[in-house]
Each structure stands twice: as C-alpha cells, then as structure tokens.
Symmetry: C2
C-alpha cells in the first residue's frame, strides 16, 4: 500500500511571542509525508521547489524515507516562501508574507511509479491542480483533501468540482462555516457532505477535531501540552497521521476513522513541540503508541450511572 | 444531602443574529439551581431581587423545586439586569448593559435552615460576598466556585483569599489565562491549583471542558447541536449538573469528577436549546441519561492498535 501527497514544499519563517525561526523546511507536503512515513513504507511526494532549495532540506525528507521522485526542481526559480506570526495564545496567526515563486506555474506531472498510489492526499493547493494530480492516479482507494479560505472565496466553482471527487475532507472550523455559509458546525457538516466528501473532519486546533460520518459524530480532544513552540504544520501532520493509519486498515469505517483521527491528533501534538518539522524526525513507534494511549486516557468517560431520581 | 447556590437572580435581555428575548428569568443562581435540582431534592438558593421581580418568575423556581427561603426581596429596589448580544457564530458575546440595582448592596444573611448545606456553589459575585456566604455555612463537604475577568482585574487580592477556600474552581479558558497571566492552559492550570482549588475545570463553550486534578487531565467534548438559540446560562447550568452529580457520590475522585463534568456538559447542552432557562423545566431523568450516553458515544475512542512498524 502506498500514500501519495501533493502540496507545498516551502521555506517558512515563523515569529511567535516567545521565539522565532527563519527559512526552516516547511510546506504541507513536507509535514504530511514526514508524518505519514511513520505508518507506511511507501510515501510519495509531489511538489516543486526552486534552485535555492538546499540539499540539506532534501536530505531531511529523503532520510525520513519519503519518495522524492515527484519533487520537481525549477533550477531558475525560487522556492515558495511563507512568513507567519503567532499571537500570544498561539491559536491565532497572521500571514506577514507569501511568495508563490515556483508554485505560481506548478503543473504537476506524476512519475509513472506514482500512478498506482492507493491513498491520495491533496494538500491545500489550487483546486484545479488538485484535480490534475487526481486525474493521473489510476483509481485510488481513498482521496483525502484539504483546502483553505482563499480557494473558498476565489475559486468556489473549481473547489466544488474537486470536492465531488474527494472521500474525506479535512478543514478547520472557520473554513467549514465559510464553505457553506452556515455558522452552525453540525448543519455545515451536513451541507459539506452533500457536496461530495462522505467523511468530513473539522480541525479545531487546540480544541481537537470533529469527525462527521453518516449518522455519527466523534469528538477527539487535543493533547494538552505545556510547551508549544510552533503550531505550523500541525494540520498537515494531522492529515499525515490520518492517512498513515488508514493505510494500515482493511476498511474505512467508523472504527478505523476514529482511530485515524486519534493518530492524526498524535502527530499534530508532536509537531508543535518544536520549530519546523524537527520533532517528526526523531520519533519512534513507541512514542506514537504511548501518546495515542494518552489520548485515550484523556478522553475516557467512566461508565455513567443512569439518573433515577424524578425531579420535584 | 443538600446543595446551596449563591449568585445572581436576574432579568436577561438577549439578542442574537437569529432572534431575541426580553427580560427573561436569568442569573447564575437561577440556572445553577434549576439544573442541580434534577439530581438533588434539596437545592437552596441565596440571592436578591427587587420589588419588580414577578411572582411568575418566582413560581418557575419554586415549581422547579428550588428552596427560595434564601432569596431576599428588596421591595424598593430593582432586580439585577443584564443585556447581551451574541455574534454570528454564537461563541462570542458583548455585554450591552449591566444594571446592578439591588445587587450593589447585597449582603447575604443565610436562613438558619441553610447552615448545614453539604455542597456550596459560589456563583460569579464579588469575592468578598462569596466569602460572606461561605463563612456562614457550617463545614461544607465541598466548595465549588466561579468567577470572571471583572474580579480578576479589580479585586485580585480578595479573589485569591476566596480561592484559598475553594475545592473546585470552574472558569472559562480566557479567565484561566488571565488569572495567572499564562497563555498556556496546562501551565495556567498548575498555577491556579497552587492558589487553592484542588480541582480546576476550564469551560471552553462549544469546545467542551477540561478537568485538571492531581496528575490527570480529562477532556470532555461539547455536544454538537444543530440549533443553538441562546448560550446564556450554559456555564451556570454546567456547574449545577456538576454539583448535582457530585451530591450523588460518596467520594470526590477521578471517576466521580469525570462523570460530573459530563453531567455538567449535559445540562449546558440542554439550556442553550431555548431562550432563558425554559429547557431545564421540562426535562425528565431519561432525557438526561440519554444525552449523557450520547456524550459517551461522541467521545469513544476504539481500542488502539500499537504501532509496530519501524520507520525507514
């Protein structure tokens, strides 16, 4: 079984009230693949970088076991750059600068070896590019996608076209409300699932995630951490853990999806502990298993005692 | 076993983008007692109203089985009035008007019959008034308290004096951060528990609640509702369900506290379904038991499969 992820590979500069980092390895495809490879031996990346992308960063991904045959290098171009600033409580951020660079003309052409990918993860990109990737893969078992407010506002029709092809959409709560113009998340989830994705996962940052499937809702907590250095990439690491766990499962059902959301939350909880994707590099299976167990302890409700008293 | 609650009894006017209500029965003591009485036959209210408080509202509380011997009536005064407006997503609100009226000179003098109360709930009030009530009760088993940013900012020393006497503090996330000036909730929780309360519950509105005890954290989800009419009183109904369940327990331990947080969340989830406390009036035990079961389904994580694969 294999996982293909298309998305950005980037330089990220990050400011928080407590520290900063400059031009670290970033991008949705980097975080997603570095998280997924803990669950899967065959993780394939599709993206583009410029001639300025250092060999050292390429090596981080390669050492992580990520297949880079789909990483295009535009020698004359510059790598996508993002600069963000987090606020005091680390839950909100402002984008200070975005330089698309080589991403502006990105037209992915998949290596032949990628065409049989089983799970396809469409990172946050122009919806048309997401479809270009999907069109090339031969009948994937599962399509997971992310998007953002920019595409909801600027390419709504193209986004809807992509959504019809998606099995599992992973977006945040503000995006879910905006996508179908409904302030109530339960109603919004119904409307979004009517657009195509049978499964919807709404990420809520430090408040965890909600999984909506047919007739059922699952609420996963976030892991309460004492030190959060850098929330960048948490959502992409979440998608990587999610896809990674589902790759191990025979069926995508309520049980496997709930577990996948927990493993996604686990990978997100690790990534925020350091600037950039560093924390994803030194994890072992027991770290992941232990933290997953902590999630279970965190959310465990003891068997409830039915209320018998009749109120006065 | 008995529960005493001191707090406001109020007229609330509520505006939301979807509707409004004028001068409905409100106040922390009203919501708290109307929620707690579903779990307990002996729920005692301490508060003050003016001569303008209608017999009809008094009857709602009395019909609910709330002991009103501690509800003072200042015939020449006017009842506390609050006017709030909720925003589009119902998670944020602005206070448009607050008229303290009879509350400005409130100096509670408990009926003798209240002095043996087992659980004391100190609703959000001036910390000195909270202590005045506590001083009069003869050695309660459990003291639960709420507070708000106004007292954190304006009477910090008096608030700390009250906190030393509190077993279980129930506040929201912004208040927790502000109380000890720490943006991280886990560190903030440690610091708050050092001020006195062995148990800390942080309410997060539509994102659920966190329970911090010695060495353990529990994350309870919020119930995903399709229609939220009016979030007013949800936090007080939460405290009522919490106290109500603990009143049924022999010990305040990890198990009983986790269940109590769920029952608190259950009562909060009901109250937001209608304007004012109406929804608390027509509930039966099976409604409460059924929704508590829904919380368990909502949060259930299937047994996890340990990760065995060694990453490449």
């Amino acid at each position: 079984m294999s996982i293909l992820a298309v998305g950005t590979v980037a330089f990220d500069s990050i400011d928080t009230p407590f520290g900063s980092a400059e031009r670290v390895l970033g991008g949705s495809a980097s975080y997603l693949t570095l998280a997924a490879r803990h669950f899967c031996d065959d993780v394939r990346l599709v993206g583009v970088v410029g001639g300025d992308f250092p060999a050292e960063y390429r090596q981080i991904l390669a050492d992580g076991g990520v297949d880079l045959r789909g990483l295009e290098v535009e020698e004359d171009g510059e790598t996508f750059f993002w600069h963000g600033e987090y606020h005091y409580d680390m839950n909100e951020r402002d984008t200070l600068d975005t330089q698309l660079n080589v991403l502006a003309s990105f037209d992915p052409d998949l290596p032949d070896a990628y065409l049989d990918s089983d799970i396809v993860c469409l990172g946050n990109l122009e919806p048309e590019i997401q479809r270009t990737v999907l069109d090339q893969v031969d009948d994937p078992d599962l399509v997971i996608a992310d998007t953002m407010n920019y595409w909801i506002e600027n390419t709504p029709d193209s986004l809807r076209e992509t959504l019809r092809l998606v099995d599992c959409l992973v977006i945040n709560d503000a995006e879910a409300r905006e996508l179908v113009d409904d302030p109530n998340l339960v109603r919004a989830a119904d409307k979004i699932r009517d657009l195509g994705p049978e499964t919807l996962i709404i990420k809520k940052g430090e408040h965890g995630a909600l999984l909506f499937t047919d007739g059922s809702v699952f609420s996963a907590p976030a892991y309460p951490l004492e030190d959060i250095q850098d929330p960048t990439g948490a959502g992409d690491a979440f998608a990587g853990g999610l896809a990674g766990h589902l790759h191990r499962c025979e069926a995508v059902d309520q049980t496997s999806l709930r577990r996948a959301v927990v493993y996604g939350s686990v990978m997100a909880s690790f990534v925020v502990e350091r600037y950039g994707p560093d924390r994803l590099l030194d994890l072992g299976p027991s770290d992941i298993t232990d933290r997953a167990q902590s999630f279970q302890d965190l959310a465990a409700i003891p068997t409830l005692v039915p209320l018998q008293k009749q109120p006065a």
